[in-house]
Structure formats: C-alpha cells, structure tokens
C-alpha cells in the first residue's frame, strides 16, 4: 500500500460569524493515495467547500492535521502556504478565473512566473501544457475569444504546468453544458491516467460517476466514502454522439 499523498486527520474548522459560531467541519479524516480520482459531494452547507479550501492550502483548519505529500502543512504561514500551492497543487475553478485580456499562453505561464521559471522555459512549458489540453492552436486567444469549455481547458493547462502532485477542482463543470462537462471529465481522466491525483468537488452525481471514489459529506462530516469503477468519459461521449 503506497503512502497517501494527501492525508487529513480529524479536521475541525469553526468560523465566527458575528456572534454565532459556525462549525463547518466537525472532524473529517480523509486519505488519498497517489493517482486516485476523488470526488467530494454534498449539498451546500455540507462543508465540502471548506474541506476543499483546507485541502487546497487556502485556509488552515482550526484543529486536526493535514499532511500533503508527507509534509504537515496545517500550521504553515501565508507565505509558505503560497509556495506549497505553487509547487504541489494545481487549481481549477468553476468560473475558470483566467486573467481577462491576457492570452491563453500568458495565463498558463502565470504559476511559473511565481515559481521563478525563466521566460524561455515558461513559454515552452506553457505551449506544451496547452497542446496537452488540445489548445495548441489557440495560444494567442484571450479568454473572451474562447468558449467556456476552452477557457476551462486553459485553466487546466495552467493547473498542470508547474507539474503538481495534486489537482484540486472546485465544481469545474458547474458553468458548462453537459457535453462540454463530459469532455472536461475525459481530460481529467486522461491526466489521472498519467499519475496525477485529482480531487474534485461537485454536487452533480453524473459528474461524480467519472471518478474512482466518491466521498459524500453532510453537516461537516463524511457520510460515506465509496470506491467505484469510473464511467469512461470517452465512451460516454461516443454514446452521446450516437444518441444525436
């Protein structure tokens, strides 16, 4: 059994909102092994977003431990967390979060800028990443010139360009139609096959079907944690074509 790449133990997160104390996480433990494709599901208020923020090193737990790639990160300061996010993680958001009026290539180069990669290297790697997501011909397009699915591909290229160990995707298909959603899931599956660990938050069961493990959350706790055989997104796409 391989060491988990991502190991959260007894995570508790409480927010103080004015006078009311909100307990977003009430002791969540989760271990993800390298190469797993995990989806975290739950209704709004279930704590899945908070979980995602902590797993993404954007937030720190009130208590509990979180080991990322063997390193305890739950107590790190803002600067160190930024470095961890830059080197170990890749983010994909629901609303893409690309820089407007900036070309696809430059958007993809951004994480490498903060990693201190030289300009020539950045260019080369950004182009390679964009080719990998199928946008090798749209390097100069700005987000406004791209469709939603293409924008999300740029965001995925940006997430993988620094060669992260884990990709965290927060409702990556939330703003996409069902066909494009499946295309994006196919891309994730392809990345998963190349060895990257992917954790995805969604509230759509059909999206979770494409992942190999579904963690259901409710009221700040893990309700169920099921390993499954994922639906192959390429086949789903083929079926979709037949149906048309």
């Amino acid at each position: 059994m391989t060491e988990p790449i991502l190991e959260a133990t007894d995570l508790v997160k409480t927010y103080k909102m004015e006078d009311v104390e909100v307990r977003a996480l009430r002791g969540v433990s989760l271990a993800v092994r390298p190469g797993e494709f995990v989806s975290i599901m739950g209704t709004s208020g279930s704590g899945k977003s908070t979980m995602m923020n902590i797993l993404g090193c954007l937030d720190r737990p009130t208590s509990g431990s979180y080991k990322l790639a063997g390193r305890e990160v739950s107590k790190l300061g803002r600067g160190d967390l930024a470095t961890v996010r830059n080197k170990v993680l890749g983010f994909v958001f629901q609303s893409f979060n690309l820089l407007a009026r900036t070309s696809a290539q430059e958007n993809v180069e951004l994480p490498m800028v903060y990693a201190g990669v030289g300009a020539a290297d950045r260019r080369e790697r950004a182009i390679a990443a964009l080719e990998k997501v199928g946008l090798g011909k749209r390097l100069d397009h700005t987000p406004a010139q791209l469709s939603g699915g293409q924008q999300q591909r740029v965001a995925i290229a940006r997430a993988i360009v620094n060669r992260p160990k884990v990709i965290l995707a927060d409702e990556p298909t939330g703003n996409l139609d069902s066909r494009t959603s499946i295309e994006i899931m196919a891309l994730f599956q392809e990345l998963g096959r190349s060895g990257i660990t992917i954790v995805l938050v969604t509230h759509e069961p059909d999206i979770a079907e494409f992942t190999s493990r579904v963690v259901m959350m409710r009221d700040g706790k893990v309700l169920s944690d099921v390993t499954q055989t994922p639906v192959d997104a390429r086949e789903a796409l083929a079926n979709l074509k037949e149906g048309e």
Partner: protein, 409 residues
C-alpha cells in the same frame, strides 16, 4: 516573480485604463510641469543677474580710506586719507590671491573738445584698472605703464563724454581735449556699459594715467593716496580670501593695534550680487514648497485610484494568490504599479515644463535655464510619491484572504 515581469504587468494594467491612468497622474503632471517651468524661469533670471554682475566684475574688491573723526564728528569712508601709495605695491607683492591692483583717483573736471564743454568725472589710474573692471574699448585702446610714469597727457573717454563733445565717436581718437585747460590726446573710447550698479551713468567718465592725474588734475597728498584701490582676483572664492589677506596686510602696514578698528574698508561687489541672488533663492524655495504640495495632492490621487484598482481586481489577486503568489509578490506588484504611474506623471510633467519654458523663452524672450538637478529631483520625488502612496493600497491587496478574494463579485 522577477522585476521585469512585474513591470510588464504594471504597465499592461495601467494601459487597460488609459484615460483613468492619465487623469490620475494629471495632478503630478501639472505640479511637476509648473515647477520645472517656474524654476527654469527663476534660474534664468538668476543667471541673468549673475551675468550682469560678472560684467561689472564680481571678483572685484574696492579699498577705501577710513573715516576721520574730528571732535566726535565722524566723517564718511575716505574722509581721511589713510591709504598709502606704497600700499598698492605691497598688495601686489605680498598677497597670494590678488591678481591685479590699480589705484583710482577721482575729481570732477570740466572737459573741452571741438568747441563744446562738459563736466564729468576724471579718474586717474593704471592700465590694470581696465582689466580689473572688464572694460573694453570701442575705439583705440588703454594707456600703458610708461604713460603713467612719464605722466603722458593721454585720455580715454567714456561714451557719454564722447557724445557731448564729438558729433562722430570715430573722430574722437586722435583728437585733443582740454581737461582743466590742459590739453590731452584722446587715445581710446570705452565700450558702452550703461548704468552702473548704483544707477549712475558708467559712461560719463574720462580716464587718465595716475601720474598725469596727480600732476595736472588734482595735486597729490604726498605719500597718501587720495582715492581708492581696486583689486581683482581670479574667482569668487579667491576674492573672499583676498579680502581677508588685504585686511590683515593693511592692518599690519598701518600698524593698528588689535583693539583699534580698521582705518580702511574693503568692500566687494560680490556682496551686492549675493544679496540680489538671495531674492531669487527665496523664490526657488517657495516653488519647491508648491512642488511638494502638488506632489502630495497627486500622490493622494494615486492612492485613491490604486485603492479602486485593488478592489476591482480582487478576484485577480485571489487567483494570483491561489496559484502561488506570496503576499510580498502582490505588495511589490501594486507598489510598482503606483511607482510606474507616478513616474510616468513625473516624466510627462518634465516634458510639459520643458515645453512651457521653451515657449516662454521663444515667445517672450524670457531667460530660462533648465537645471538637470531639478529634473532629477522632480523625477525622483515623483517615484517616491508612488512608493509612499502606493504602499497602503498594495499592503491592503497583499493582506486579502485568497478564498474571499476568489469569491468576490
């Protein structure tokens, strides 16, 4: 994140809002521009005054005899002759910083020529006097040392005297004039100098050799020199040193005890010049004050727009943080943006100042002088304003919570 990419990002961000960026720095443009223009005019005026004084000879000292005191009534400077003829030679030989020395004896005389007469001031001196005072000749030239020793009856006329005696100035050289009824040959006509420092007509004068003056114009006072001594030095600094040297030398020669006051005065034109300069100096300081105020106002404008920019770009900041920007990276990014903004304003302001100064000097003939130091100062302080007023918005941006920033609508 390296500095070059940061600069590039800053410039691109500012270019996205060209009009807004321009309006933001307008305060700095106008502030810096007006200061550059005003200082150019001020410096120009200062240089003009300096030139005027240089023409009169700022490196010039005038030594006069002290005041006489009879029954408690004190006469003015020169009322009692205390300077000796030998003092002139002593100053020439026993000082380091004095380059030229000439005595000057004055007497009002009547002068006749071509049947007309005129009352003017006759001055007896030596050839060095013309050099000390930077006097040049329109026609002819000065008398020489030999004329002084042989008491030659030669004279150099000022422009006003020529005007009053001769119809044509060119006819003057070689003509004979009579000073107190003694015939003198005119050997030179001085170039016109206009008004002197104290408002007198500097061209209303007739110069004769000192020896001739004592023999034919005004009887001498034996060993005493009945006038003043003009001294020239190489530079303004040397002039100051020469002043101290002469004072010490003359005190020793006149055998004054330590508790006795000087029996002579050494005055310099440089003192008068520096008094004039002080006026423009005050003006310059006033302008610097205005510059400071306008830079402050411009800085507040920059801070304001940077705060707007931070708010507008909250999501961008959140994203940059999420993908690995450290708080320091964000801070530097926004500070640099403010610095670029302010510096561009400073540069445009300098250009505006140049333009206004050039226009004024071309259109109205005003003397202007652009001081590179002021330009550097203006640019430097603009950039500093950028840092100062960009720091707070940048700090605010760097303290944003990435989660909230990403969620910001």
């Amino acid at each position: 994140m390296n500095l070059f990419s940061t600069f590039r990002v800053a410039v691109l961000a500012l270019l996205l809002n060209k009009m807004r960026s321009f309006l933001t720095v307008l305060g700095i443009i106008i502030g810096v521009g007006s200061v550059i223009a005003m200082v150019a005019i001020g410096e120009g005026a200062k240089a003009e005054v300096q030139r005027a004084f240089d023409k009169m000879g700022t490196n010039l000292l005038v030594i006069r005899s002290g005041s006489a005191q009879t029954s408690g009534v004190r006469g003015g400077a020169g009322s009692q002759p205390t300077l000796l003829w030998t003092d002139v030679d002593a100053i020439r030989k026993e000082t380091l910083y004095v380059t030229k020395v000439a005595p000057s004896l004055r007497q009002n005389v009547q002068i006749l020529g071509e049947g007309k007469n005129w009352t003017t001031s006759a001055e007896g001196t030596t050839p060095e006097y013309f050099e000390i005072r930077n006097w040049t000749f329109q026609y002819g030239g000065p008398f020489n040392e030999q004329d002084v020793t042989t008491k030659a009856k030669v004279a150099v006329l000022g422009g006003t005297v020529v005007d009053n005696l001769f119809g044509n100035p060119a006819d003057a050289v070689g003509a004979t004039v009579r000073i107190n009824n003694v015939p003198f040959e005119v050997i030179g006509v001085l170039a016109r100098k206009g008004q002197s420092a104290n408002g007198m007509d500097a061209d209303d004068v007739v110069m004769v050799p000192a020896g001739t003056f004592a023999a034919k114009v005004q009887g001498g006072l034996r060993q005493y020199l009945g006038g003043s001594i003009y001294v020239g030095a190489a530079t303004p600094d040397d002039t100051r040193r020469a002043q101290a040297e002469i004072t010490a030398l003359l005190r020793a020669r006149h055998k004054l005890r330590d508790d006795e006051p000087d029996d002579f005065t050494v005055s310099s034109l440089a003192e008068a010049a520096s008094a004039r300069q002080e006026g423009t100096e005050t003006m310059t300081r006033l302008l610097a004050g205005i510059a400071l105020v306008s830079l402050l106002v411009g800085g507040i404008g920059i801070m304001n727009i940077m705060l707007v920019s931070v708010t507008e770009r909250t999501r961008e900041i959140g994203l940059r943080m999420a993908i690995g920007a450290r708080p320091g990276d964000i801070l530097v990014q926004f500070v640099i943006e403010a610095v670029v903004l302010a510096s561009v304003g400073g540069l445009l302001g300098v250009a505006l100042g140049f333009g206004v100064a050039t226009y004024l000097s071309n259109e109205f003939g005003w003397a202007t002088k652009i001081d590179p130091q002021i330009v550097a100062l203006a640019l430097g302080s603009s950039a500093l304003v950028g840092v100062g007023f960009g720091l707070y918005p940048a700090h605010k941006a760097s303290r944003l919570d990435p989660i909230q920033a990403l969620r910001y609508e």
